[in-house]
Symmetry: C2
Subunit: 265 residues, 2 copies
Amino acid sequence: LAAQVTTAYTLCWACVRNFKLILAYDGAGFAGWQVQPGKPTIQGELANAIEELTGEKVLPQGSGRTDAGVHGLGQVASVALQTVIPLENLWRALNHRLPATIRIVGAEEVPADFHARYCAQQKTYRYRIYRGDICSPFLANFVYHHPYPLDEACMLRATEAIVGEHDFTSFAAVDPEARDNPQPRSNVRTIYQSALRREGEELIYEVTGNGFLHHMVRNIVGMLLWIGKNSLPPEEMARVLAARDRSVAAATAPAQGLYLVSVQY
Amino acid sequence: LAAQVTTAYTLCWACVRNFKLILAYDGAGFAGWQVQPGKPTIQGELANAIEELTGEKVLPQGSGRTDAGVHGLGQVASVALQTVIPLENLWRALNHRLPATIRIVGAEEVPADFHARYCAQQKTYRYRIYRGDICSPFLANFVYHHPYPLDEACMLRATEAIVGEHDFTSFAAVDPEARDNPQPRSNVRTIYQSALRREGEELIYEVTGNGFLHHMVRNIVGMLLWIGKNSLPPEEMARVLAARDRSVAAATAPAQGLYLVSVQY
């Protein structure tokens, strides 16, 4: 009887606590966010750390996937746990168990209806292009090295063309898992901010929107690079966007320059 | 006959050019400097790049080995080649073929008697200890994270005890390949500078000497950490040094905090 009572207590719905975790990670050593058998992933490492600590087998939900090599500065995950460990201790103990290239940089208890993916309102991504001749080996996994000529003025003007609500089919990966937010069959997204700036030897692109299709930021950056290489006018960006055809746009920029900066709720 | 002449020309001793290459590398993805079958190493990658470019099978000689995970800022290698490629083109083409986490940051043609290891006069190493509570995942492979209490004043005073000529047996790895410079059977080395400083959240140790035994810098840092943890006086460092016994000294500090900064000739 005692065992039954304990079991009933452990599984009591009222005891479930919902957590919002903010994660930073160096994506270089991982096969992306999403759990995959036999490969190190951010989601998999987080699930392992939680199971080691609490004994609970759960799959933390991210705000969206990041691909292999893509970095996180403020990825958000939600996870429901029955543990009684106080928040601060849970946070510290998970960091102790996680690989040092993944850190929980923020943690809070949130209402049961919070879901990192379904509740996300806005996301911001950053892409770093290193323009210097020789790129430090310590930056190699953290920027895209492009030392060749680029017409940065043309690129700057082209960034504005994607602001607003558009069908981003031309910038969506052609694959069946193309969406990182739950709006099936629609490739319409709204971009609030799209900006390019110079910081020393780096050209930095930052974009904020209500959601992003798979590879969308890397495809936009690929298009910006194409425009920069050929000194094309900003109309080229608008033309490709209007075509709603992936095959007319430029190649996907490499993963290692991309950062998921933050998610707003 | 033409083929024979060409062969003779290719192998003509007078055509051999000796190169000094200065290398920077992120050691995280490599099994150290020294070539090993089936494992990525700095020396192996450099040899591969040279062979791909010139067709010449050579083994570039480093100023000394660095262990797996140890980084290079100014490692020096020498290599004799028969290629007629101009220096600047050779440098650029090798960087193009090397992994992006290894860069040749300096290159020059040197007299035939230059050897990166035998001619080295001084070396400088740096060790980075991160003292903050949560270490950025982007620093994880580049510092040793030690957020626990340390008496930094005691550590600072202990750094002076190793300056000068000493037998460093207490700080030498107990293995048959213990030496990174060609003074067989002697563990005597001269340290010119040994300094500890704070830079924000980092505690940085820098040491310059005429040569270093295998693991010597990491063992000195291990000893400094031991002194810091227990608030021991600098005499502890001198006592352990005088014992000439590895077993009385502290554990080896982790590889990822260590950098080979420069080699003087």
